[in-house]
């Protein structure tokens, strides 16, 4: 248990650093910005308490925010994602087993991609709406959401692929 907690702490730090040091500088076509750190929330174990998940997500978002100078934006999206995550776990995860870590091996590739893409879309939509501050340019928000989600999903799939091969 302590070992898994430590590994999660390490992953937390790793995801935050990867996001703020590398991925935040990746800007395709001015608005495509992948947010890979969502994978941390997506792969939180399903047995974990929902409130604890939200608190961790809030902390994760806040850390990324502090480094990106957008206080609150990522935290907002992360908390929403963490709130919705258990419902998605129920919808896409295997019914018989409870309390597993979502991944290619436990969920199956297709199921996991569906499960994570829903969460990524929700996270990105919330993030870009909060960033715009209003629904005035909703078309632009949707475009940003879709493009960034595609890039984030590509990164997530590749990360999960290498993890499953280990």
């Amino acid at each position: 248990m302590t070992g898994s907690v430590l590994s999660y702490v390490l992953r937390f730090v790793l995801f935050v650093l990867l996001q703020v040091l590398v991925l935040n500088r990746v800007l395709f076509f001015d608005f495509v910005n992948p947010y890979l750190y969502v994978l941390f929330i997506i792969t939180l174990p399903t047995m974990m308490d929902r409130i604890a998940q939200m608190l961790v997500a809030f902390l994760l978002g806040l850390c990324v925010d502090i480094f990106s100078g957008t206080i609150g934006l990522n935290a907002f999206a992360c908390v929403l994602t963490a709130y919705i995550k258990p419902f998605q776990n129920k919808a896409f995860g295997p019914q018989e087993e409870f309390g597993i870590v979502p991944s290619f091996t436990t969920y199956g590739v297709a199921q996991f991609v569906q499960y994570s893409s829903v969460l990524v879309l929700i996270h990105h939509l919330a993030f870009f709406i909060a960033e715009a501050g209003s629904f005035e340019h909703f078309g632009t928000i949707l475009l940003k959401t879709l493009c960034s989600s595609v890039f984030t999903m590509l990164l997530i799939i590749s990360v999960e692929y290498f993890k499953s091969r280990k």
């Binding site: 409130i51 939200m54 206080i71 934006l73 501050g133």
Partner: protein
């Protein structure tokens, strides 16, 4: 993993054990209803704890966003301003009726004030319109070498052959001999003599050797206007060559080729043109724009370089 609200859960679970004893102890002090209420409330919090924590965290994020990001702050404020503004608009559309009486009074007052102003403006405008030389005079005044002395006509004759006009201003007001005099509609005449407080003007309508250098408006050929007796509303324009095209109704104005009048002051309009084949010049009759029988206020033109110009011209002769 334990819930962060574990202490409440613990309290509740212990409560179920202790509840009987607590209830007995508190029986006299608390009503059954009060305890039921508390239980329901805690149950409610526990049932919706996830949702409540979720909403709380989102609220914290939102406050963080709004307080730390200028752009989102402005966006939020502007959208909330729309709501606030529409509420105020609705309220004012209701409350506005209560002040109608007072508003009506203010409007009526303002109306009467504006009407007064309009009347005075209209009369001013009318005065300026009658004074067709207003614009010319204004442009002349800009050049600063002409100044005007306003004077009142106190005596005048029009039916004689040697007519005259007497003004209520004289040498004491800066009027000198040979200054030009114009009225609201055009040229009047020239100052012939001055006393301390009065001055006498030879109008155009006076049989004398006094001519006004003139031209057709829009044309630079010089002519001269003189009066040959008879009708005080008519005069003659001489020395306009026949090759100049002109028609009845053309404006005749001062040419500026003298030290008396600045250029562009209206004298009259052409009313009859005779073309004699043996003569080089037209024989033009004009309607004088100044009504000499009804002249009240005139302006005496003070050309500050008149003396200098005259001296120079005299020296050349």
């Amino acid at each position: 993993m334990v819930s962060p609200l574990w202490f409440i859960e613990v309290a509740i679970s212990k409560n179920t054990v202790l509840s009987q004893r607590v209830f007995v102890v508190q029986k006299r002090f608390c009503s059954r209803f009060y305890l039921a209420c508390m239980k329901t409330l805690i149950k409610f919090f526990l049932t919706f704890k996830t949702l409540l924590v979720f909403l709380f965290l989102e609220l914290v994020s939102f406050l963080l966003i709004v307080n730390n990001n200028q752009f989102q702050k402005s966006q939020f404020l502007s959208s909330s301003n729309v709501i606030v503004g529409s509420i105020y608009e609705g309220a004012s559309s209701v409350f506005g009726y209560f002040g109608l009486k007072e508003t009506n009074g203010i409007l009526a007052q303002e109306n009467s004030r504006l009407k007064e102003e309009l009347l005075s403006c209209k009369s001013e405008l009318e005065r300026m319109r009658r004074d067709s030389n207003f614009a010319a005079r204004a442009s002349v005044a800009e050049r600063n070498c002409y100044s005007f002395v306003s004077a009142k006509v106190i005596n005048a004759s029009v039916y004689k052959e040697r007519n005259y006009i007497t003004l209520d201003k004289g040498a004491g007001d800066g009027i000198r001999q040979d200054m030009g005099v114009i009225g609201p509609n055009g040229v009047v005449g020239i100052v012939r003599s001055v006393s301390d407080h009065f001055s006498e003007v030879i109008p155009i309508v006076c049989l004398s050797d006094f001519n006004v250098s003139a031209r057709i408006k829009g044309n630079s050929n010089l002519g001269s206007v003189s009066w040959s007796g008879g009708d005080y509303r008519k005069a003659d324009l001489w020395e306009i060559p026949q090759y100049v095209s002109l028609q009845v109704g053309d404006t005749v104005e001062t040419s500026g080729c003298s030290s008396i009048f600045p250029e562009g002051i209206v004298i009259g309009t052409v009313c009859d043109v005779k073309r004699k084949s043996e003569d080089y010049f037209y024989d033009i009759e004009i309607n004088l724009s100044t009504d000499f029988s009804n002249l009240t206020y005139v302006d005496v033109i003070n050309y500050q370089f008149a003396e200098e110009q005259n001296n120079l011209e005299e020296a050349e002769k």
